[in-house]
Amino acid sequence: MDDLPEEVQELIEELDEAAEDEDEDAIKDLTQKLLATGVDVEAITLKKLALLVMDGEEEMTQGWTQVAIQIGTDPFKTLIEGLAAGMSLIGKKYEEGEAFVPQLLIASAAMYGGMDLLAPYMKQDENSGSKAATVVIGTVEGDVHDIGKSLVKTLLSANGFNCVDLGNDVPASRFIEAARENKATAVSMSTLMTTTMAEMPKVVKMLENEGIRDKLLVMVGGAPITAEYASQIGADVSPHDAASAASWLKGAVFDFPSESVRWS
């Protein structure tokens, strides 16, 4: 942003303030002024959104999402190249040990704040036929820790997956029902506690007994879960963290048979 003309930089700063104050009229007015300067407002907005999400600036993210809506940026593009890109930036920092969970959480709140504003516009896209792979996600029975699971959900959503969030303390049978109901591509389970790890193999076993294990991928994760444990209980993977869960699944579904083939 530093290489932009001074006049544009001033308008951007004013927009930041208007966004923080949730002053919609000022946002509209400033957006028009920005457009009149002739700069690529869409590129600026998407870059700005990514940085704001990365920094967890919820109000400002919402304000700049309004800018994106006003200038007519495709909502899916705003989601992927703006909001989700910011989540990926902080996710990468987390993966490299340069960021911590609270930073992921405030970034996630900022991303969802922007997504809420985009939601009414995104529906049009769904009607046009695009459909994402569905992941059934939850924390296993006996464990009420939501944070890790919610971060995985955030990053999966940011990568275009449709997440069915079962919440925490989810009985094994509920994972199976939800997988079937939603013709899921993957089931993702988490636990923070060693005391509830044994619920995971129970779910895998139930998927096998129901004859649907081969129809989907199984991810397990959480503080006490190792790759060795995942393999031992028959899961497909135990990603190191939320960011690698999303990138692994993106790669895995690429080679996976389509929903209609699997669930026919």
Binding site: V101, P102, Q103, L105, G142, D143, I147, A223
Partner: protein, 344 residues
């Protein structure tokens, strides 16, 4: 050569940085299905019946050979006594806190000590002390940051922990929550010490770098843990501090709280932790799941690795899994004793 000690003497020697006859083997939370069944206890009564509780937890000492006797089961008593919703779990799942308060002013704790679960802990401490004077009777309590997290919700704690570093107004909010947690901590600590607890074991699970930033730990959590720790010392009782996850980035802070020993889990490199902690004893860090499905060789290897790394007592990474088997617990205790015979 140190002459044979009782369990309590052994644990106290370790806490006081004195020689021991063998390294102590201790634990944090204890709710083991096999022992619940063996002692004839029944769910959920054992949570609110001091005799059942002591009959169950004492088997960790008398049968498995651990040096401490720990009560209560799980980290829910404080929240339950404050009126939060708690799901009582099952014989193999510990209770869990399910709700939180919106504002610190909503937390009422005038009648905290009258709660039946708090009373059970206090009665169990008295009873264990009478029946097992040679064991280190340990109260398992929720430390201030984790209690503040239970009061406001863990996710809110995590979010506020970063916001409070950015804005003074948010810091004040955080301090308001922690100050209430500390008041409750003090009421409960005093009652436990009066009941006869030899040691207070504080779990500050939510102060972990897995949930809050190290910067927050040093600025906010250390003063809070030190405050409750100083209070406990003033009562004449030693205390242990446990924090989950890879705590290497905060070990120096943990050591500065004045805790008599630091408990770390399997994610921590013991050698690194003991080096940073200096003369403060570090204990741990055997993977708890080994007590459920570990082989004898794995249990021995991990126990010895932790002790070779400088651990002053062998301890499971965090609590004892409910599905632990007595055979594996005994293998673990024997591994620590054999190591002591070889290396002490």
């Amino acid at each position: 050569m140190v002459s044979e000690m009782t369990s309590k003497e052994r644990v106290f020697a370790m806490l006081n940085r004195k020689p021991v006859d063998r390294v102590p083997v201790i634990t944090g939370s204890v709710m083991v299905k096999e022992y619940i069944e063996k002692s004839g206890s029944s769910w959920p009564d054992y949570h609110s019946n001091a005799e059942m509780m002591v009959n169950t937890v004492s088997l960790m000492h008398t049968d498995a050979g651990l040096d401490n006797i720990v009560m209560p089961f799980g980290m829910f008593i404080e929240s339950m006594a404050l009126g939060l919703e708690v799901k009582m779990g099952r014989i193999d799942i510990q209770p869990s806190v399910r709700s939180f308060f919106n504002k610190p002013e909503e937390v009422k704790y005038d009648n905290f000590l009258e709660d039946k679960y708090v009373q059970t802990t206090l009665d169990a401490i008295k009873l264990a002390k009478e029946k097992y004077p040679d064991a280190a009777v340990t109260a398992f309590l929720v430390a201030p940051i984790t209690l503040a997290g239970d009061l406001m919700g863990a996710e809110n704690l995590s979010m506020l922990s970063i916001k409070c570093l950015q804005k003074e107004k948010q810091m004040q909010k955080m301090k308001d929550w922690i100050s209430i947690a500390l008041e409750i901590n003090k009421i409960y600590a005093e009652a436990c010490v009066e009941a006869g607890a030899d040691i207070l074991y504080y779990s500050d699970a939510s102060a972990s770098p897995n949930l809050v930033m190290p910067e927050f730990y040093y600025q906010v959590a250390v003063p809070a843990e030190k405050e409750i720790g100083d209070f406990v010392h003033h009562l004449g009782c030693p205390w242990e501090l446990h924090i989950c996850g890879d705590t290497v980035p905060i070990i120096e802070g943990m050591a500065s709280t004045g805790a008599d020993c630091l408990s770390v889990e399997q994610a921590v490199n013991m050698e690194e932790a003991t080096k940073i902690a200096g003369d403060v004893p570090v204990v741990g860090n055997v993977t708890p799941l080994l007590m459920v499905e570990g082989t004898e060789a794995q249990i021995i290897e991990e126990t010895r690795k932790g002790l070779d790394g400088g651990a002053k007592a062998s301890m499971l990474g965090c609590g004892t899994p409910p599905l632990s088997s007595s055979d594996k617990l005994k293998t673990w205790v024997k591994a620590a004793a054999d190591w002591s015979a070889d290396k002490l």
